[in-house]
């Protein structure tokens, strides 16, 4: 049984989550990461992803759409630009957004901002996966 650490997720509108956590999974710009207690202090940038918060037997999922996080030995702070619980996600809208972004990427038109479309695609995928 892993020891737990303190997790706090903050978004610009206020606190999103605050509580104990045994194991935290997310995707950073460097790839997938998992954090237990007593990790080395680290600051890293988040990709839009599904954040999995493991506590005991239970696991909570949340869509975290960009931001960064700061890991200290006993405390992890996530500064998310936007975060949503599965219940708050509008799946139809996310699917539509995914389709739109994919179309834009495929069309490669001149007025398509590729980075923006990619980011939109990632956000949509993160939302859809969170609900699954």
């Amino acid at each position: 049984m892993a020891e737990s650490f303190e997790l706090r997720i903050i978004e610009p509108e206020g606190d999103f989550f605050q509580g104990e956590c045994d194991f935290l999974e997310f995707v950073s710009v460097e790839g997938e990461m998992g954090i237990y207690k007593d990790h080395i202090p680290l600051t890293t940038i988040l990709e839009p992803c599904v954040m999995k918060i493991h506590k005991g037997e239970g696991m909570k999922k949340a869509a975290v759409l960009g931001g960064f996080l700061e890991i200290l030995k006993t405390k992890v702070t996530v500064l998310a630009e936007d975060a949503q619980w599965p219940g708050e996600i509008d799946v139809e809208r996310a699917k539509a957004a995914k389709k739109r972004a994919e179309e834009r990427l495929v069309s490669k038109g001149e007025d398509v901002d590729e980075r923006r479309a990619e980011a939109a695609l990632k956000r949509a995928i993160a939302r859809i996966q969170t609900v699954k």
């Binding site: 903050i10 978004e11 610009p12 509108e13 206020g14 606190d15 950073s28 710009v29 460097e30 080395i40 202090p41 680290l42 600051t43 890293t44 940038i45 931001g67 960064f68 700061e70 200290l72 030995k73 405390k75 702070t77 500064l79 630009e81 936007d82």
Partner: protein, 296 residues
Amino acid sequence: MASMRDIKRRRNSIASTQQITKAMKLVSTVKLQKARTRAENSKPYFACMYQTVASMLSKVGKIDHPCLQSGSSDKKGIVVITSNRGLAGGYNSNIVKLIVDSGFEREKVRLYAVGTKGIESFARKGYEVAADYSDVLESLVYADAKEITKKLLSDFLTGEIGEIYVAYTFFKNTVSHIPTLMKLLPIDPGSMDEEKKNGAKESGEDEEEKLTLMNFEPNEEQALDLLVPKYLSSILYGAMVEAAASENGARMQAMDSATNNAQEMMEELALKYNRARQGSITQELTEIIAGAEALG
């Protein structure tokens, strides 16, 4: 002495003005509470953001990053946050005054304005208004701050502006709002250190640990690249949330004193009206008596 009818008319007009100011005061009180909660909720995010960027900067020391050096241009980009509506006392004019008295030359200032009231007075004074984001005030969301950041950064990196500031009204409490001018870019590691020391007192040990051991992934420079836009937009959002609270606070105060003023005027006029009425009665009596005497 004004006639009774004039006084009565005046009193009625003041009474209806008072009703309006009273209603506006109530509305802004409610809005203030909302804006205030919002500002308080979002504070931890900005405090955290600021700390992280500061600790990162103190760690990387002197690195060659475009965001740490002033650009080639001597123009200063200033985001000025005012309101879209008037009747907020000195709220808007204080911000305007802040910029005018800031010592920046008018020709070297480029404004990115939020709030139509500010745009009006700056345009009259001959400042260059590069962009207008007044619509965002209607419903404040984080994405708007990101939009403004994008424009700012692209202007900064193409060299159109050399420095970025934000001018907003800091909401200290309900009665005291402080117009503030804050430098955003280039980030000045020196000034951050100082402010960080003040902040560090609260979280002494954590801070130590962060400074000595913190690693960055990807490395500092790349992380800084990714963080700077987030840093800018979070500060802008924070400034706008604070400004919204200040605006409603200022309006509440202004409307409160307007209501009190109207009350005072009404009382004065009531006195005048009664005197005029008494005067007219006395005069009528004198006339009647004089008439009766003349007949007798």
